[in-house]
Subunit: 396 residues, 2 copies
Amino acid sequence: MKRKNLMTPGPSPVPSFVREALSREIVHHRTEEFKQTLSEVSKGLQHVFCTKNPVLIFACSGTGAMEAAVSNLFSSQDKVIAICGGKFGERWAAIAKAFGLDVVEMNIEWGASPAVEELKRIIDENKGVKGVLTTLCETSTATVYDVEAIAKITKEKNILLIIDAISGLGQDKLLPDTWGVDVVVGGSQKGFMLPPGLSFISLNDKAQEALKTSKSPKYYFDLNAALKSYAKSDTPYTPAVSLIVGLKEALEFIKTEGLEKRWVRFEKMAKATRQAAVALGLEIFSQRPSASVTAIKCPSQIKSSDMVKALRKQYGLSIAGGQGQVKDKIFRIAHMGWINEQDLIMCFSLLEKVLKDMGHKFKPGASLAALQEVFASGSQSQCSSSNCDIKAQMKI
Amino acid sequence: MKRKNLMTPGPSPVPSFVREALSREIVHHRTEEFKQTLSEVSKGLQHVFCTKNPVLIFACSGTGAMEAAVSNLFSSQDKVIAICGGKFGERWAAIAKAFGLDVVEMNIEWGASPAVEELKRIIDENKGVKGVLTTLCETSTATVYDVEAIAKITKEKNILLIIDAISGLGQDKLLPDTWGVDVVVGGSQKGFMLPPGLSFISLNDKAQEALKTSKSPKYYFDLNAALKSYAKSDTPYTPAVSLIVGLKEALEFIKTEGLEKRWVRFEKMAKATRQAAVALGLEIFSQRPSASVTAIKCPSQIKSSDMVKALRKQYGLSIAGGQGQVKDKIFRIAHMGWINEQDLIMCFSLLEKVLKDMGHKFKPGASLAALQEVFASGSQSQCSSSNCDIKAQMKI
C-alpha cells in the first residue's frame, strides 16, 4: 500500500481543515458576507507579510503577481537590476525584458547569496537604476538572500526593492517595513498551505507613488484598480472565492501558532534536514540555506531525477529534483507550510531506502538519529533575538 | 431557517461532486498523474467549446483570458472594433485601449444585439480593421449575439473574430469551427459549474498565426508559451491544481448529459423564465434573450437593487441586479451550469413574495404556473434542427 506524501517546495500539502473550506458551497463575491471574509483575510495577510501596507490578492499563480510588480512600477526603458542566481531570479529578468525594461543582470553563482558590496558597485556603475528585483528564498537553489542588507543599499540609493517571497514567506524571516522593502510578492501554494491559484502583492507608500508614473500596458494586473477596490474590501474582477475562503482558515491557523514561533520551528526543521543529509555523507548545496527548503547535492553516481522518480514510484513520496544548470545534480526537500518534523522523519526514512538501493553507502538510520537530535535540542534560531519581535517591528 | 441559493450569472452553484474533488489532497503538477488529468480536461474543454482547436487554461478570472487575447493577437496601434452594448463589450474596449490599440467602438443600445449590416458598414469605413471583439452572451444585458452572422462577415473580410463566451458557453449555442470564430474565451464559474479562478481560451490556426506578429508586452498570459506547454500536457507556470481536478468532474458530467441536450434544456428554462416574468406583468429587457441568463425590467416603482437585497436578506436567494446604465432598472436570473428547473420554481416563488411586499400586483402563483406549463411542453429550441449536430459539425 503506497501512501502519497508531498514534500515539494510548492505545491505543498493542504491540511484537511483548509480542504474542507475549499469544498463549501460557493458564496457570491459582491455580498457583505464575502466582503467580511476579504477584510479578515487582508488582516491575516498583513500579519504573515509583517507589514502595515495593503496586501492585494490576485487570482493567478505567483508569476502573475511578479508581472504585476514589473508592469505597474516601471515603464519601457527603465533600468532595473535582476539578481540572477537561480531560476526565479532569471524569471524576474525575463518578465522585465518582456516589458521592455533595460535589465542589468547581476549574475551570481547558483547556491550563493548576492554579495552586497557587488550590488552596490553595479548600482553605482549603472546610472539611473530604478529598481532591484530579487528573491527572499531562491527556490531553485534553496538559498535565502540577505534582504535586510540589500534593503539598506536600495533605501540609501532611493531605489525600489521588489522581493519575490513566494516560497520563503512564513518560514524565512522578512520584515519589509523595518528593513525598507517596497514590494513583496507571495503565492498561495507554499507557506500559506493552500492549493495554487492565488498570489499576493504588498506595496508601501513609495511603491504606490511609483504606480502613478508607470506607462507599461496592463489591465488584469492593474494595481491602481486593485488598490481602489481594496479600499472597499472588494476586487476589480471576480476573485477566486473558494481559495480565499480556504485562505481565511489557513491564516487563522498561522496566527494561532504565531508567525515568530513558526519561523523558529522551520529554522529548526531546516537545520535538522541539513544535519540529516550530512549524516548520510551528503553535502548541502546552498551557501546560505533557507528555512523553507533544503537543497542537497546528489552522490556523484546518482542522477537526482532518477532518485526523485524512484521515491515517487516506489513510495509515493514527492520531493523536487534540480532545475536548469543543477538539473540531476541536486534534490530539494521542502519544510514549509503544513510540513512538520514527522514528515521529515518519514521523508528521510524513505530517502535512506532509495539511496541504499542506488548504491550509496551510509549507516542505516543515521539521518533519522540526526533529525531526532536536532528536534530534541533547545536550539533556537536567530529569531529568538530581540529583532524578531513582530509586534515591536510593526508598532502594533 | 434561511437556506442559501445562488441564481446569479457567476459565480453559479457548484455541485457537491465537484466540491468533493476540490477538497481532495493536492497533487504535484509535474507528475504523470496530473498530466493525465490535464489531457482529459483538454478533451472535455474541446467538447464544450465545440472545437478541434487547443483550449488553453489559465489560473485567473475570465478578464485575464480576455487580456491574453488582446495582448497576444495585436500590437499597439492595431485597429479593432469592440461591440459595446453592455459592460463586457465595454471591457473589451477598455482592455484594447490599455494595450494601445486603435479601438473603434460600435455602440449599440443595451439589450439589443448588433445589426450585422451596421458592423459591415463600420468595417468598410475603417480601413485596416484587424479584429472584432465581442460577446456570445453579453451578461450585463442577458443578450445573446448572432455570432454566426458576425462570423460570416469577419471571415469574408479576413478579420479575426474574438468571442467572450464566459457566461454563454454551455448554454448558448456556439459552433466556432463551423461558423469561423477564431478565438473563444471562457471562465470556470458559469456553465462549467466550478468556483471562479480558471479561464480558458481556444485559438484556431489563423489566431495561432497572428500570435507570431504581435509585439504587445506579455509574460504570464503569453499564449505562445502556453501552446508550447499544452503540446506536452503541461502549463508554463504552476496551474490551479485543485480547480483543474474539479473541472475534470464537471466536464465528465456535461459529457454524460450531452452538450446538445443541455443547450435544449437551458433554452427551455430561459423560455420558461421569460413566460414566468410575463405572467407577473413584467417585461423582458433583452431584444435577443440568452439561454444562460434572463434580464427582466423591474416595475417602475421598485428599485431592482432593493429587490435583490430583500431577496438575499429575507430568503437567502442571490439574483443579480443591473449594472452600469441599467442599474436599478433590471434584475437578472441565471439558468446556467448546475441550475435546473426546480431552482427556477424556488426562485420565482420567492420573487413573488418580495414583489408582493413591494406593492407589485399580480395573481399569486402565476409565475409558477407559467414555468410548469413550459416545462411540461414538448417545446424544442432551434437546437433540434440538423445544424445542431455537434458530431457532424466537428466531423468526429
